[in-house]
Amino acid sequence: APALFALSQTSSWRDFYTAQEYLDKYYTPQEGHHVGEITSGDSMTKKVQQMQAFFGLRVTGKLDYSTMDVIKRPRCGVPDIAN
């Protein structure tokens, strides 16, 4: 339920899962998560904010339109936060 904060009025559950996968891939220090560990909702929001800051977007913590637009662009597979 706390994760819902990241879900803005306009995004869908599909967007939510797309964003979650994206943030796991590019904004999660690999050693930080082990299989089976449950991520707290506010950590999702924090990652959204990190990603918005990196791309120079407005930092809202929400999966708003411009954030989802960046998430859906083809890109390099190296994480943005170095690990």
């Binding site: 120079g56 083809p74 890109r75 390099c76 597979g77 190296v78 943005d80 170095a82």
Partner: protein, 379 residues
């Protein structure tokens, strides 16, 4: 720019690279070219040299992979993740993988391999992602034109922070207020030299343009006085130098300039949009560049010369004609050897091959006059 934690970098200036697995969507030659140009983008800004190997281990192993390929960074099919590379180090260090499920191209359609390769080699040399949207190391894909490509400032700072600058060779970053060396003024080739040849010739409006290296001559069809060469960069900045071919379609008021696998469209000297790939004309995939082109005004057809063959392109239908390529020698008696340039003037085709220019009469189907190429610009 940002570096990886611990700032891993190569301890040597000469690195080996090897393309271990190729992609079916490009020929080996195209992949090799894109990789070579991608590496050159970095060696132009830092004292790094890259040596291609074809067997065994190399510092930078390059391959096209599908899905999960054993390095705990599985690819995800079309779009999404395009490629990744590992920071300098032993084993996987420096290795660069491209997602085989992407449509890799040499042009603007699909994903341009040069663009992605140059970005990934930044990682392989020690750069992390940059938050500067104009940087090559910005994480999302943005087409970069391979010819005349120069690293954006942010990336130059990054690579020089690791390896110093190519000029000084030292680690100290280049002091920005140093005057940027201007490219040396183009050396003017002696157009009366017996071995002088042109790269490309075309009509443009009422003028004839002759291209050679970084220069071009422009003259009225009636040569009144000797003409002075101009710098291509001055009038055609996008072209820079070494134009392969050019032609004009007068009734549409557009001209086309060819360089490697790309072409530019202009209206006079005005460029109309970014470069496109020559695949637009319908050449077979093995044609990576063309030698010469000539537009035949009455027939509304354009002949493209590649090696010892030529193609005919219907400008009305915008389609390559069937039954081509054909042999140049078989169709144009008296014309043999590679064609450097061609142009139609007053119904005659003038073929430029090496130091000679041949006047070809299509009614007689024969060469009726031969002059020195340089005589066209007043020699």
């Amino acid at each position: 720019y940002r570096l990886f934690p611990g700032e891993p970098k190569w301890k040597k200036n000469t690195l080996t690279y090897r393309v271990k697995k190729y992609t079916p969507s490009l020929s080996h030659a195209e992949v090799d070219k894109a990789v070579e140009m991608g590496l050159k983008a970095w060696s132009a800004a830092a004292p790094l040299n890259f040596v291609k190997t074809t067997s065994g281990e190399a510092d930078i192993m390059i391959s096209f992979e599908n899905g999960d390929h054993g390095d705990s960074y599985p690819f995800d099919g079309p779009r999404g993740t395009l490629a990744h590379a590992f920071a300098p180090g032993e084993g996987l260090g420096g290795d660069t993988h491209f997602d085989n499920a992407e449509k890799w191209t040499m042009g603007m359609n699909g994903f341009n391999l040069f663009t992605v390769a140059a970005h990934e080699f930044g990682h392989a040399l020690g750069l992390a992602h940059s938050a500067d949207p104009s940087a090559l190391m910005y994480p999302t894909y943005k087409y970069q034109h391979p010819f005349g490509f120069h690293l954006p400032k942010d990336d130059v700072k990054g690579i020089q922070a690791l390896y110093g600058s190519r000029l000084t060779g030292s680690r100290a970053p280049q002091v920005p207020h140093l005057p940027v060396p201007k490219p040396p003024a183009p050396t003017i080739p002696d157009h009366c030299d017996s071995s002088f040849s042109f790269d490309a010739v075309t009509m443009l409006g009422k003028e004839l343009l002759f291209f050679k290296d970084r220069l071009f001559w422009r003259r009225e069809t009636q040569l009144k006085a000797s003409v002075q060469p101009l710098s291509i960069r001055g009038s055609f900045p996008q072209l820079m130098s070494n134009v392969d071919a050019a032609y004009e379609v007068p009734n549409r008021g557009v001209a086309y300039f060819f360089k490697g696998p790309h072409y530019w469209t202009t209206h006079g000297f005005q460029f109309l949009g970014p470069p496109r790939t020559i695949a637009d004309f319908g050449f077979p995939r093995n044609v990576l560049h063309i030698d010469a082109a000539v537009h035949l005004k009455d027939e509304k057809k354009t002949l493209f010369f590649v090696g010892d063959e030529y193609y005919s392109f219907d400008e009305v239908k915008r389609k390559m004609e069937n039954d081509f390529p054909k042999s140049i020698e078989d169709e144009f008696s008296g014309i043999n050897g590679r064609i450097d340039a061609a142009v139609e003037v007053n119904g005659f085709i003038y073929f430029f091959s090496g130091p000679k220019a041949y006047k070809y009469d299509r009614e007689k189907e024969d060469v009726v006059h031969i002059v020195k190429s340089g005589s066209w610009v007043g020699c």
